[in-house]
């Protein structure tokens, strides 16, 4: 393998991981930006996405159905949870959200185990994406290129949504100041439900897309929630661009770090986070808290 081929394939690997991390992080950061909620159930919803995706793919025989359907269903579930439970808590302190989302994580995790069983389940990529392409004579999985492309598409879509659409504008206004927004006649309640739903849908999208790489398994929630936190914190809580940068930074450091210093694999993310926070306590693009 030439050095150039090595750098190219590893960079693409890093980008594909960054895409998966981004789906997790951006949902979390949107929710935080708007509602100041640290959603501990984010990992569980990611897992739910993978399992719902499994069933949809199996039932329809079509991965694309899963790719669209799972985020939709999980997003609706999230919006429903906001409507029924979270809505009652906005006047309460952070403790309430912490515990209620922790509770939700346990409930979703166990429900997945009860419905789909304890064994890991296979979600194969669609046949169009199952092959390899040769990049500088080295085989590279098409599926990973697809992840990179999806990451770019979703990032651009969210960015345009926030910048251009009316709801996006309202979300940005409400993130700045909820009282002012409601004084302007904005229906804050509806925005909160939508954003919580969108955040959960993005987590589920991450889950469906990760499933062909790691299978749908009961253990997948435990580790990703921390990854998502780290990315969001590195980028700055509530910052869309920050979550993108955080995901890229962690993706590259992890992939190259695993290669050059595998002994530190467990520590890279935290070292990056420590370094960033010591220099900029609010995260790279965050406001000082």
């Amino acid at each position: 393998m030439t050095t150039l081929a090595f750098l190219l394939t590893e960079s693409l690997n890093a980008l594909s991981q960054a895409a998966l991390l981004f789906f997790l992080g951006v949902g979390l950061t949107l929710i935080f930006g708007l509602m100041r909620i640290v959603n501990f159930a984010h990992g569980a919803l990611y897992m739910l996405g993978a399992f719902v995706g499994y069933s949809l793919a199996k039932g329809s025989g079509n991965f694309w159905v899963a790719l669209v359907g799972a985020p939709l269903l999980v997003g609706m579930f999230g919006a429903g949870f906001e409507l029924t439970v979270l809505r009652r808590l906005y006047r309460r302190d952070a403790h309430a959200f912490l515990m209620v989302t922790f509770g939700l994580a346990l409930v979703v995790g166990e429900a997945v185990r009860l419905i789909w069983g304890p064994d890991a389940l296979q979600v194969a990529p669609p046949s169009a994406l199952a092959g390899v392409v040769f990049l500088l004579d080295e085989p590279f999985p098409v599926y990973r290129l697809f992840l990179v492309a999806t990451g770019i598409v979703v990032a651009v879509a969210i960015w345009q949504f926030l910048e251009r659409s009316k709801l996006g504008l309202l979300i940005r206004a409400t993130s700045q100041n909820a009282d002012m927004a409601s004084a302007l006649g904005v229906d804050v309640k509806r925005i909160r439900s939508s954003v919580f739903g969108i955040g959960c849908a993005l987590a589920a999208l991450g889950g469906v897309l990760a499933a062909p790489l790691v299978t749908a398994s009961n253990g997948m929630a435990a580790t990703v929630i921390i990854d998502a936190f780290v990315i969001v914190i590195i980028g700055g809580m509530g910052s869309f661009l920050g979550s993108l940068i955080g995901a890229l930074l962690v993706g590259f450091v992890q992939v190259f770090g695993n290669y050059y210093l595998p002994d530190l694999a467990l520590a890279f993310m935290y070292l990056v986070m420590l370094a960033v926070l010591v220099v900029r306590p609010g995260g790279l693009l965050g406001k000082e808290t």
Binding site: M1, F6, T9, E10, N13, S16, Q17, E110, R113, P118, D119, A120, L121, Q122, A124, P125, A130, V132, P139, F140, P141, Y143, R144, A210, P212, L213, V214, T215, S217, N218, G219, M220, A222, T223, V224, Q254, V255, F256, N258, Y259, P262, D263, A265, L266
Partner: protein, 409 residues
Amino acid sequence: MSKKVGPSRRAMLSVGLAGAATVASPGILRLTAKAENAPIKIGMPLALTGALGSVGQQLKRGAELYAKLQNAKGGILGRPIELLIEDTAGNPANCVRKAQEMVERQNCRLFTGITLSSEALAVVPKLAEWDAVFMSSDNGDGRLTAESFVPNFFRANISGPMGTRAVSLYLRSGKAQKFYALGLDYAWGHNSVQVFEDEVKKSKKDFLGKVFAPTGTKDYSSYITKIRQSGADAVFLVLQGDDNNAFLSQSQQYRLSEKVRLLTEIVDLASIRAVGDAALGLIGSSRYSFTYDYPLNNEFVALWKKEHDGAVPDTFEGEQWQAMKVLEAGITKAGGIEAAKLRPALEDIEIESVKGKVHIRKCDHQGVQQGFMVEVVKQEGIATPIPKVIATFPGESTTPKCNSMTFDD
């Protein structure tokens, strides 16, 4: 690291404790009085949920079928078997607490099925105090019969080093010359990779390098790149659960097996089901395979299918079944379950099991048994690939020296 404990001193201590406990505790006196038909309680603090919940569930099913059939035959020594099954979620703190509850509240003195090595290592030092015997059915950590050995511990299953040894014996006659190894970054991974490295070097082949990934790794691309760059003919994998599934799925997407032969320390059905065709061509040792053609095994598989709507028994279902059989033989021979009687009865016992002869050797309580090599292949009429037995090795050649994890030749 933990010191080596001479069995004799601990043994004497536990006998002494047993005596003292019998005198001191009215509960035990009451129980011994009606021990004739009191149930035999077997404690199983299992990881039924959590990342290794799949393994815990297998152990549970294996034990439950055994207990059901054996109780239908009148139990052991005319006493019914009562399984005390509890979930630990794979957390050693829960495991120790649940086990302690079984001892203190239910007066349970037999354990099996403790799922994770970390759980087993936490429980094992307490066995003497509890005066309890622990028959391992899935713990692979070589240390349990080496540095961490205690007299009340027995292992009916194939250990990590034994699995690795089977792989290396198989390779001696193979064409592959250059090897690389990838293990999980914890005790089991390190031990097994070490055994493998020694074996490769002993057989005068090239060991090109090794790398360890932490449990919970989701992206194996960097490790796959390392394997590809090493130029090895074959890579030895010591992976488990989600990590194993992730690696196999991703290496298939990289077409890794077209270039490098994949060898693994442990092949099990749950993993094959999870990754499907990505497991095809995988060669590895198996702790138990339903495909092993042997009268007792065929009988067991038939029983299992009848009970479970035609499903075949998985690795740890078979292992747990065998562990129960060993325990049964020991209890029958000892005429009771008291550790002081059961321990000598189990030492040097030999039974016919689903995997052939199993002999619990006296020196470190390891069950000496055949090693199996399987290859994952497609079979007509079955959707998921199956592990086919391609070689067996006698127990004498796959079991390490007493109280160690290494091999002489």
